[in-house]
């Protein structure tokens, strides 16, 4: 029951943010909504007991790729309406307050968890999964049963890399 509620909440958030990504006019806002979207997808993975995938989702997508998006969006200087730069509703104080709150939270978590043994988060929920951890399972599957698709994926990435060079370089 609780799981179902969590699933539908997360799914609704994913869809809602996806709509916001394509409906906001400001490109930077759109990218930021994309980050939120990726974070909720990661939450979905956690719900499925795939903690490793969730971490990868956050690191690679929310962390790596979207930051690149942001760089590109800011570098190419899309024509934005001028009021976007001087927003009268800008909540500077609120922003600082939120940042401070996050720092306090981080500190509290660090203080609270020092000296305590690391307890796996989903120890009760994932009793069905055999002893080996999430990461080991993914790695084991990738390098045994799914070795061939994994190797083909490496060719796919090589193609993408070469393609990016071909299309981006002026003179080869």
């Amino acid at each position: 029951m609780g799981e179902a509620i969590a699933f539908y909440f997360i799914a609704a958030c994913i869809l809602g943010f996806a709509v916001l990504v394509i409906s906001t006019k400001d490109t930077v806002h759109s990218v930021l909504f994309l980050v939120l979207d990726f974070l909720f997808v990661a939450a979905l993975y956690v719900l499925l007991g795939a903690a490793f995938l969730a971490a990868i989702q956050i690191l690679v997508y929310a962390g790596g790729i979207v930051v690149l998006y942001l760089f590109v969006v800011m570098l190419v200087n899309l024509k934005r309406p001028p009021e976007a730069h001087s927003d009268p509703h800008r909540q500077t104080r609120l922003g600082f307050g939120m940042a401070a709150a996050v720092i306090v939270e981080l500190g509290a978590v660090a203080l609270y968890s020092t000296g305590k043994p690391v307890v796996p988060l989903a120890s009760a929920a994932t009793a069905a999964i055999p002893v080996s951890g999430n990461t080991e399972q993914v790695g084991w599957l990738l390098y045994t049963s799914y070795l061939i698709p994994f190797e083909i994926a490496s060719m796919l990435l090589l193609v993408a890399m070469i393609g990016a060079i071909v299309l981006a370089k002026r003179e080869l």
Binding site: Y143, T144, S145, Y146, I148, I152, M155, V159, L167, L172
Partner: protein, 490 residues
Amino acid sequence: MPPGISASDFYNILPELVLTSGALVVLIVDVLLPKERRGALAWVTLLAIGATLASLVPFRSTHVEVAQGLLAVDQFALFFKVVFLVAAAITVLMSVRYLEIEGASPGEYYFLILCATLGMMIMAGGIDLITIFIGLETMAVSFYILAGFIKPSHRSNEAAVKYFLLGAFSLGILLYGMSLMYGLSGTTNLRVMAAAFAGQETDARLVLAVILVVAGVGFKIAAVPFHMWAPDVYEGAPTPITAFLSVGSKAASFAMLIRIFLEGLPSMGHDWRLLFEALAIITMTVGNIAALTQSNVKRMLAYSSIAHAGYVLIGIVAGTSRGITATLVYLFIYAFMQLGAFAVIVGLRRADVAGEELKDFGGLHARNPFAAFAMLLFMLSLGGIPPTAGFMGKFWLFSAAIDAHYNWLAVIGVLNSAVSLYYYVRIVVFMYVKKEALGSEPATSPTLAVVLGVAVAATLVLGVYPRLLFELADASARTLGAAGVTTSLR
């Protein structure tokens, strides 16, 4: 060796390994050669394709599943692999002069052609949704880049962007359907999936999955109403790539379609057959009617290629062993006539002339009788006139449809062939009847002559003596999961 994979698995994917190494060698040789001698890369590429073809020989009658059912090495896959490799070789031969004229760098170009071929081979062999999808992605990404390879050309850029955006969107739809299939069956292996679905009553969610997968695959084979990308991409992409796209990518997508639906979803046969029946009718009709008004030959051939996807779908709808045989035969024959027709267009390309318009063909007979004769043959074959191979292919397709009691589907197919003759013959009229030489002197090169010779020979020989091809295709169709082919008689 860890469990799940064994040394024999690596032996069974030998052709793929050879092709991959060949692609990497091309990439390395490209760096080692001085810039003005990089034309030699075409021969390295051909060598890689030849080696791959040779490495297929030991697998003539193999019938195994590799890596616990991720890939199948059987005659069905073998048949398609031969089609892909031959199409790739012809494309490379066509490209030699084209690249010189366009001034594009050949290294990455040939590498990407080989990688696209690798993706196709994986698609034809895949009996697991994961393998099929990765193969499809490898092929698609290679083609996105190849379509935009002529960077100074705006049309080429437009083709690449259009193909990329629409292609990514369609892959998303396909993936959605696949994920529903996985969710409902609990497996990604198509053969296990077929067993899981067997005997179950129709689930509305599975119907949704079928619709989504049909839409995704329909995009790849350019079936109406998922065809909007095809004319623009075919027109804008470099001509040899257009040829490869319309032959290789289409054949690979049909292989994927047959694997997914006949091996994975035979229990849903009634539903997807109905969908494909409707698709076949719209695709044939819209493709042919739209082709009537085109003045750009590449664009016309794009619409003609859409119409041909419709004809091939007839074989899938029939679904019998005979229908699948006809599908394989038609894709094989279609490869030669389509590649040949594009080779003639490549021959008309010169530094200052695009050579793609109908008027460029005016009086071609007087200027280059062989090219005109070859084009005449390809056009008759595409239209389905005996004694060319195209006639045999269509004959087999329509008779398979009648065999499976889809009489009116065959009637619509024949009517459409009659319509298509108008625009095929129009080119012939331009070449032979129009006296004024509007177009340029077609520049012949030895490689292009080889391409035309091979395509002409295949079109004629397969039209007169198709028996060997039929037997091979029949044997290939029979190696498919027995459940899929035999239980589908209506």
